[in-house]
Symmetry: C2
Subunit: 192 residues, 2 copies
DNA sequence: ACAAATCTATACAGACTTGTCTATATAGTA
DNA sequence: TACTATATAGACAAGTCTGTATAGATTTGT
């Protein structure tokens, strides 16, 4: 009789991803070595290299998973708070504030990775670019639904406020940037 | 008869700072080793450790110098382009675009360093925070001179646009973000 | 010209890095 | 029960990193 999956020990791959996720986000991909990850996940080194062909591949896999998780969380948080497109655009910044307030918040993993992984050819770098593009696409979709003039320009401007708020909140370790970003967004949306 | 200073070989310290400056900015402090810096500057390793007590101290010295240089360049560029405070606020984003267009642009050294130097106690981290604060102070000064209502809020919002533009321009390797940041800033200033 | 400070070159310690290799153990399946 | 896939433990290679030690050369100020 097999143990039910709910109480089963997570697979080695899952434990690796779990450990890599917190360590990479918290301390940066370049400041965390393979040894830290296998120690934290309680996995043998060969298990890691059986599941991921290199550290760079693990970084890319982590970013891919985080991209999916983060965007799902973001969109759900926005969409459960408001239904009208204009309200949803503003709700984005409430979601940001909620994110910034988490004690382990350390900025955007994709901005951070694009800083650390200097090489644009790094597979993780590509994921970071696509992540930003996906956020832009989501904003653009909401802006169009709100029937705002010059949607591309407004979507870009809202993206700048969003990214700026992330950076400022990270450096100051203070979530208040989201409030001013929201105020600015409100102005821009009303004016348009 | 001493050689005129203009043709004199720069001091070891200057050559170290010069090499560290380009390497740290271009590839990140954590991706550049001491050996690269001494090779590039043509200096002996002991000379480096005579002038700087550690790599971390060199990083801090680099950031301090860059902070001074960058802010001087930024303010001069803004102030030679316009005299009225409102115009100067907008000229900030023209300066940004000029900066983003440089072929070796790789984002803000202070954002990048605050990502790489995880530890807030790192001397370089403090410099990064103070740099951002100094930019905020400069914006605030212009906003107040322009007699805009609620100057703290508006200055903060402009800071968010500025930082957001830097991040987006860096990741996309495209200076166009400055144009939209300027358009958004114009809206915010007019509305206030 | 002499003495003090600075710079160079190189070797080295000790720790850390990623990735490989080997050998053993533990599952699930036919 | 036997086979197969996966996991474990740990040693190891080959290279990197920062920082120190040593000894000789070169500038510099007086």
């Amino acid at each position: 009789m097999p143990r039910p999956k709910s109480s089963a020990k997570p697979s080695a791959r899952d434990r690796i991803m779990q450990a890599a996720s917190t360590l990479f986000y918290q301390e940066g991909t370049q400041n965390v070595g393979i040894d830290r990850i296998i120690a934290e996940s309680g996995v043998a080194k060969m298990s890691l290299y059986n599941h991921f062909k290199s550290k760079d591949a693990l970084i890319a896999a982590w970013l891919q998973q985080r991209d999916a998780n983060w965007r799902e969380w973001f969109q759900e948080t926005v969409e459960k708070q408001a239904t009208a497109p204009t309200e949803r655009l503003l709700a984005m910044f409430d979601a940001l504030e909620e994110w910034f307030s988490q004690p382990d918040f350390r900025g955007c993993a994709f901005i951070n990775s694009s800083v650390e992984l200097v090489d644009p050819e790094h597979p993780g770098y590509q994921v970071a670019i696509e992540h930003q593009q996906a956020i832009y696409d989501y904003i653009l979709q909401l802006v169009k639904a709100a029937e705002i003039d010059d949607p591309d320009a407004v979507a870009e401007q809202l993206l700048l406020l969003l990214e700026g708020a992330i950076v400022v909140a990270m450096m100051r370790r203070n979530p208040a940037a989201a409030v001013q970003a929201k105020a600015a967004a409100e102005m821009l949306i009303r004016a348009a």
